[in-house]
C-alpha cells in the first residue's frame, strides 16, 4: 500500500520534472517522452497489479514482478554494454590525442634543431 503511494507520488514528480526539463531544453523530446512513458507504466503497474500478471503470462513468466525484474535486468545489461563501448571510445580518443602531441613535439624539436644549424 505504502509502495503504491510512494511510486505514484514519485512517478508524478518524475513526469513533471521531465516536462520542465524538456521546456528548459535540457532534455530532448525523445528523452522526455521515454522517461515519462517509463513512469506512467510504473504507476499503472503498481495500481493495476493484475494487469502485469496478465502480460507476464503472455510471456510465459509467472508473476508480473518477475517480468519487470527480467526487463530491468535486460535494460541494465544493455546500458552497461553501451557504457563500456563509450569508455573504450574515450580511451582510444585519449591515446590518439597523446600520440598527436608526442609526435608534434618531437617534429618541432627536430625542425628547430635543423634550422639552428
Amino acid at each position: 500500500m505504502i509502495l503504491k503511494i510512494l511510486i505514484v507520488i514519485f512517478g508524478t514528480f518524475a513526469i513533471s520534472r521531465s516536462y520542465l526539463r524538456y521546456k528548459d531544453r535540457l532534455l530532448t523530446l525523445f528523452g522526455a517522452l521515454f522517461w515519462s512513458t517509463f513512469w506512467i507504466l510504473a504507476i499503472l503497474a503498481v495500481m493495476f497489479k493484475e494487469w502485469t500478471s496478465t502480460i507476464s503470462n503472455l510471456f510465459g513468466i509467472g508473476r508480473g514482478a518477475d517480468l519487470l525484474l527480467f526487463i530491468a535486468v535486460i535494460l541494465l545489461s544493455y546500458l552497461s554494454f553501451r557504457l563500456y563501448v563509450k569508455l573504450e571510445e574515450t580511451r582510444q580518443d585519449l591515446t590518439r590525442l597523446i600520440r598527436a602531441l608526442a609526435i608534434k613535439e618531437a617534429e618541432e624539436q627536430i625542425n628547430s634543431s635543423l634550422w639552428g644549424k
Partner: protein, 270 residues
C-alpha cells in the same frame, strides 16, 4: 657510435652458425648470413628502431649504448610512455629521437606512436626493441636482412627456437607455450613465441597494421593484424635475457589469463 655492448648472460652463439626449424603456414626457412661491414651499412639505411620505455631509468642508458653500436642516434626512437623517473631526460642526453607520452598509455600505444613517427620520417624498415635490456642490438641486422631481401614483410623474434632464453623460469615458459596454443586457436597463426617485443616490419607492413590495443594485448592484436593483412612473416631466434630487473618489471605469469580474456573481449568489439 660509442660504448661496447654490455656483457650478456647466457650462451653466446655466433650468427650464421644456426639453421632454423621449419615453421608451417606462411613461413619460410630463414637462413642467417654473415654480415660484412659494407653490406651492413646499406642494410641499415632508413631502418628505425622503436624503443618503448616506461620507467626504465636504471637501464635505458645501457640499452641506448647497445643500440648506438649498431645504428646512428637519429635512427633510434625512444618513446617515453609517461615515465615519472628520469627515463626521458637520460634518453635525451644520447641525442636519439625522444617522443613523450604525457600520460602513460601502455606498451602497445607507445609502439604505435613510435611506428607512426618512424613512417613519417621515411622509414623503410622498422624494428621494435624492448626498453628494459632484454634484447641484443647486435641481432638487429639479422632481423632486417629478410625484409631487405624481400623474403618477408614481418620478422618475429622468438626465444623458443635455437637460442635459449637465458634465465627464463619454468612457469614463464609454460605460460608462453600455452599462449602459443591460444594464439593458434584464436588468431589462426602459428608462432613459437606469441609475446616477443623484438620484431621487424617492412614499411608496407607497418602501414597496414593497426594497433588499437594500448596495453599488453597489443601483441595478440599484432598477430591478428598479420593474418588480416595477409602479411608474409618469418620467425628468427633471438636472445632474450632474463635477470632480476626484467623479471620484476615484466608481466606476472598469472596475468596471462587476464590478458587472454581482455584480448577476446577487444575482438568482440572490433
Amino acid at each position: 657510435m660509442h660504448g661496447a655492448p654490455p656483457a650478456h648472460q647466457g650462451s653466446d652463439v655466433a650468427p650464421g652458425s644456426e639453421s632454423l626449424g621449419n615453421y608451417s603456414g606462411n613461413n619460410d626457412i630463414g637462413i642467417l648470413s654473415k654480415m660484412t661491414d659494407e653490406t651492413s651499412s646499406t642494410l641499415l639505411h632508413h631502418v628505425y628502431v622503436v624503443v618503448p620505455a616506461f620507467n626504465e631509468a636504471a637501464v635505458i642508458d645501457k640499452v641506448l649504448e647497445d643500440l648506438m653500436g649498431i645504428l646512428p642516434a637519429r635512427q633510434i626512437i625512444v618513446v617515453d610512455d609517461g615515465s615519472f623517473d628520469n627515463t626521458g631526460a637520460i634518453a635525451r642526453k644520447f641525442d636519439v629521437i625522444t617522443l613523450r607520452h604525457l600520460i602513460n598509455r601502455g606498451q602497445g600505444a607507445a609502439l604505435a606512436t613510435g611506428i607512426e613517427f618512424a613512417l613519417r620520417q621515411g622509414a623503410e624498415v622498422i624494428v621494435t626493441f624492448d626498453g628494459d635490456g632484454q634484447h641484443r642490438a647486435s641481432e638487429i641486422p639479422e632481423l632486417v636482412q629478410p625484409i631487405r631481401d624481400g623474403k618477408a614483410d614481418v620478422v618475429l623474434g622468438t626465444r623458443f627456437a635455437g637460442k635459449k632464453a637465458s634465465g627464463i623460469g619454468k612457469s614463464r615458459t609454460l605460460v608462453l607455450k600455452l599462449g602459443v596454443i591460444f594464439t593458434r586457436i584464436v588468431s589462426g597463426i602459428k608462432v613459437s613465441d606469441c609475446h616477443n617485443g623484438f620484431r621487424a616490419f617492412s614499411r608496407h607492413a607497418a602501414q597496414q597494421i593497426r594497433i588499437n590495443q594500448d596495453g599488453m594485448t597489443h601483441a595478440s592484436e599484432l598477430l591478428d593484424e598479420i593474418v588480416r593483412n595477409r602479411l608474409h612473416y618469418i620467425e628468427l631466434p633471438v636472445h632474450v635475457c632474463y635477470n632480476d630487473y626484467t623479471r620484476q618489471k615484466g608481466q606476472k605469469s598469472t596475468n596471462a589469463v587476464v590478458l587472454g580474456i581482455k584480448f577476446l573481449i577487444s575482438r568482440l568489439l572490433k
